[in-house]
């Protein structure tokens, strides 16, 4: 990933030296041309073509913003309801993610989802303990959301 990006920038500099013009326009042109070259030679790299990963990061960002807005609407409904009739609790969620930064990202994402807040992570990084504001009607729906988050994060890190 990082290697492909560095190679792309290096080829853009080669383009600038070939065309003897050192402006940002020629850098961008060289960047796009060498992107096409990298795409043509993608089967020689061990990892995926890196634009896939850039797209995955951007879609994860949009997922983040969408979940933040949904969470706020849910919190508004909970707070402004005249009777406090929700049932909070802490449940355990097993996760398949392994590296530390993936788990941090998942925990942040869960904290910003409607009605959930990460309270603790087990020492072997396999279970997240989540405080949910309303356990009975949300448990399964939340698990479903978690699966989509985990998939989106794996899409980035794979």
């Amino acid at each position: 990933m990082a290697f492909q990006f560095l190679l792309n920038i290096f080829l853009a500099f080669v383009w600038m030296f070939l065309s003897v013009s050192f402006t940002s326009q020629s850098f961008i042109i060289g960047f796009l041309l060498s992107l096409a070259i990298l795409f043509a030679f993608r089967r020689f790299f061990s990892s995926r073509f890196y634009i896939h990963r850039v797209i995955a990061v951007i879609s994860l960002l949009f997922l983040f913003i969408k979940e933040l807005i949904m969470a706020n609407i849910a919190v508004l409904k909970t707070i402004l309801r005249p009777k406090l009739d929700f049932k909070p609790g802490i449940f355990a969620l097993p996760t398949e993610l392994e590296t530390n930064w993936e788990i941090t990202l998942l925990a942040n994402l869960i904290t910003l989802t409607p009605g959930t807040l990460v309270t603790d992570v087990s020492y072997d990084n396999k279970i997240l303990y989540i405080h949910a504001i309303d356990i009975p009607d949300k448990n399964e729906a939340i698990d479903e959301i978690k699966n989509s988050f985990e998939k989106a994060i794996m899409e980035v890190s794979r």
Binding site: V75, L80, I90, H131
Partner: protein
């Protein structure tokens, strides 16, 4: 066009102020630390973010002044607010703060046993 932009800026300001107000209500009304933390870590984040965004848009589109520090502030708040919520909830749990008495489930109690089982 400028009218639409002004409408958008005003809308963002009102939403931000309203969300901050609701956060304050939540902190007063909700029963225990953890549920209050829900209100504080979500509504306050989006409220402050939308006020900062409105400030950025106002100075950029009305005065032509591009202030990149506001964008950095939005990103920093977006990244740090959930971590702060998590740390407060974790510290509260480990110093023995009880859940609300209407809570139905507490899996974190079993954490010690789980870790003793898996440490061998």
């Amino acid at each position: 066009m400028t009218e639409i932009i002004r409408f958008l800026i005003g809308f963002l300001l009102i939403v931000g102020g309203f969300l901050s107000l609701v956060t304050a209500f939540g902190l007063l009304r909700l029963p225990d630390v953890y549920t209050r933390n829900h209100a504080a870590s979500k509504s306050a984040t989006l409220g402050v973010m939308s006020i900062l965004l409105a400030t950025f848009l106002y100075f950029y589109l009305e005065h032509g002044h591009f202030n990149s520090r506001l964008i950095l502030a939005i990103i920093f708040i977006f990244v740090t607010a959930p971590v702060a919520g998590h740390l407060i909830a974790r510290a509260a749990y480990h110093s023995g703060v009880k859940l609300w008495d209407k809570s139905v489930q507490d899996d974190l109690k079993n954490k010690k046993e789980y870790e003793q089982q898996n440490s061998n």
